[in-house]
């Protein structure tokens, strides 16, 4: 097991939405510590607030209340530009629908975060090819996303999340749009990343996906209701 450094520390995280003159809490006060190198699965039925939690963890969104310390830094105090830099350098995000830019090639998609990290073009290409090789897609580097299968697209998206060498990989239902075979391939990639020492957080509602993680969290009505180790089958519904 990796060292006991705490990467993510949430205290009383709330996310409130205003619908008409009613306030609805998507997250109702979440306390959570995630250690460095942990492989965590976030489970829950749709509407439970797990995606909202994921967006806050990924610094895409800000909590309405509470404290989120990422590597000891309070995220609430960061400016928009600092948040952008955090997303760029510390976190690699994988989406359910891949979110690749359709007009540019796989390798250019992978290199995109490096553009915003200020890396020179030749170096960008080299590093993008390196991670594409890691996910086994070096031979598809110059294909556009619409020429790739779903599993291949998701691997490109994972390569993109990895290219800037972030400590944390977050994936929001990465296998939601994939068939069984592609799902297995993608999960193997995440397992490998975990073995390489990365902190991996995975949102899913499929128990067999969650089984890959060493820690399973169940989110229900904006709260974490269960926190289990490996081997326990959490029934989402």
């Amino acid at each position: 097991m990796a060292e006991e450094k705490i990467t993510i520390a949430l205290r009383g995280i709330k996310k409130l939405y205003r619908i008409g003159d009613q306030e609805v809490a998507a997250l109702g006060g979440i306390d959570l510590d995630i250690k460095n190198g942990e492989f965590t699965a976030l489970m829950g039925p749709s509407g439970s607030g797990k995606s909202t939690l994921m967006n806050i963890l990924g610094c895409l969104d800000r909590p309405s209340e509470g404290s989120y310390r990422l590597d000891g830094r309070e995220v609430a105090n960061l400016s928009d530009d600092e948040l952008a830099r955090t997303r760029n350098q510390q976190i690699g995000f994988v989406f359910q629908n891949f979110n690749l830019l359709s007009r540019i090639s796989a390798v250019d998609n992978v290199a995109l975060p490096l553009v915003y990290a200020g890396v020179k073009a030749a170096e960008r290409k080299r590093r993008a090819m390196e991670v594409l090789e890691m996910v086994g897609l070096a031979d598809r580097a110059n294909h556009q996303p619409n020429e790739l299968s779903g599993g291949q697209r998701q691997r490109v998206a994972i390569a993109r999340a990895l290219v800037n060498n972030p400590e944390i990989i977050m994936a929001d239902e990465p296998t939601g749009n994939l068939d069984t075979k592609s799902t297995a391939e993608i999960l193997d990639v995440f397992t490998r990343l975990h073995e390489m020492g990365r902190t991996v957080i995975l949102v899913t509602h499929e128990p067999e996906v969650a089984m890959r993680a060493n820690r399973q969290l169940l989110v229900r009505d904006g709260l974490i209701t269960r926190d289990e180790g490996r081997g326990v089958v959490l029934d989402v519904v």
């Binding site: 895409l60 530009d81 997303r87 979110n99 540019i104 995109l112 800037n164």
Partner: protein
């Protein structure tokens, strides 16, 4: 990156650019045509003679019936001599008499204007002799029957052959041709300036017209800045010489060609500006076109913006991406516009046989204006894009 985004929507980018292309092209073409008109007018006025004052006799006023300007016979050759001798700031003075005569050579004949002038006249009107020589002081003193003919006269009497040394008959008197003038073309008033015969003034006065007055005195002033002073000096001198008492009307008047030139000049400058302004408006419309398309583009690419932001693009990154795109439209449109504008003005010059003047200034101004509109009208959509919330942008379908 900007290029690939523009290439992805070729037709749309092209149509957007078209606004800028037409705007820039129109500014350049209009201004160069306007400047061409201005140049033409300047040239034709300059060909009348630069810095020229013309002294004409006043109108006859006998028993209340006034004749036209120049109907008096009060102006004399001596007045010209006095002006030359007593007034400073003058380069050349030539008195002039003229008449219309039938001219005969062999079996061809031609009616033309015969002008009696002094040798100074050549410089005043900036005439050039193509072959032979101009009339000399010696011809003036001797009242020689010599003539310098314009090219129109030469063509009509001699066809292609060289007229110098030939004898023609003007008013039934033999004149020897000593020179042919270089072609000057039409004046701004549409007169053929080459349909003329020049003879010594004294010859014309005594041997042809039988008069001792002159029809006009042409004065060339050395600098355009002192035109008004010289004009006043001439008026004072002539009033003295003609014994005109205070309060009495002048029996002559002095015309100033520079003021005519200035009026024409400012008129054409205004027309040029007006044309340029109208063309400038089309450039503005082109700019609004850019803004319109950029707004559509931002909405359409909301998802892309969300992805970029999720991957770490800052406000500035997104802002720059869209700004560069709209500036690139401005630059490409501007370059094509310059090309089209120059082509158009050259084509106008070619097909309508019309001088156009392409200068750097309208090109530079309209190009920077094109890039400027790209920038200015790109700011709002680019800001809109950069301010998008990543979560909401990613959710956008």
């Amino acid at each position: 990156m900007a290029f690939s985004a523009l290439m992805a929507n070729k037709m749309r980018s092209l149509l957007t650019m078209l606004g800028i292309i037409i705007g820039v092209g129109a500014v350049i073409a209009m201004v160069s045509i306007g400047m061409g008109v201005r140049n033409n007018i300047q040239q034709s006025i300059a060909s009348l003679g630069s810095n020229m004052l013309i002294v004409m006799p006043g109108a006859e006023n006998r028993t209340g019936v006034r004749g036209g300007a120049g109907s008096k016979t009060t102006l004399e050759d001596e007045d010209a001599d006095a002006i030359k001798a007593k007034i400073g700031g003058i380069d050349n003075v030539s008195a002039m008499v003229s008449g219309s005569y039938q001219v005969v050579f062999g079996n061809s004949n031609w009616k033309t204007s015969v002008q009696g002038v002094s040798p100074d006249y050549m410089d005043i009107r900036s005439l050039e002799v193509e072959s032979g020589i101009f009339i000399t002081e010696h011809d003036m003193v001797k009242r020689n029957r010599v003539a310098v003919i314009g090219s129109t006269v030469s063509e009509n009497l001699f066809g292609g052959s060289n007229p110098v040394g030939q004898n023609i008959r003007i008013d039934n008197q033999p004149f020897k041709i000593i020179g042919v003038l270089k072609k000057k073309g039409q004046s701004s008033m549409g007169q053929d300036q080459d349909d003329v015969i020049i003879v010594p003034m004294t010859t014309a006065q005594e041997r042809m017209l039988g008069v001792n007055y002159v029809h006009s005195i042409n004065v060339q002033v050395s600098s355009p800045d002192i035109m008004d002073e010289v004009q006043e000096d001439i008026e004072t001198l002539l009033r003295q010489r003609h014994h005109i008492a205070k309060g009495q009307e002048d029996d002559f008047n002095v015309r100033n060609l520079t003021s005519l030139m200035e009026t024409m000049d400012s008129t054409t400058a205004m027309i040029t500006m007006l044309l340029g302004a109208v063309a400038g408006i089309s450039l503005l419309v082109g700019g609004i076109g850019i803004m319109n398309i950029m707004m559509v583009s931002v909405t359409e690419r909301t998802r892309e913006i969300g992805i970029r932001k999720a991957l770490g693009a800052t406000f500035r990154n997104i802002m720059m991406q869209f700004l560069i795109e709209s500036v690139v439209i401005g630059i490409i449109g501007g370059v094509i516009g310059i090309f089209m504008g120059c082509t158009l003005s050259i084509a106008v010059a070619e097909f309508f046989n019309f001088n156009t003047v392409i200068t750097l200034l309208p090109i530079a101004v309209s190009f920077s204006f094109a890039v400027g509109t790209g920038l200015f009208f790109g700011i709002y959509p680019a800001r809109k894009a950069a301010k998008l919330d990543p979560i909401e942008a990613l959710r956008y379908e």
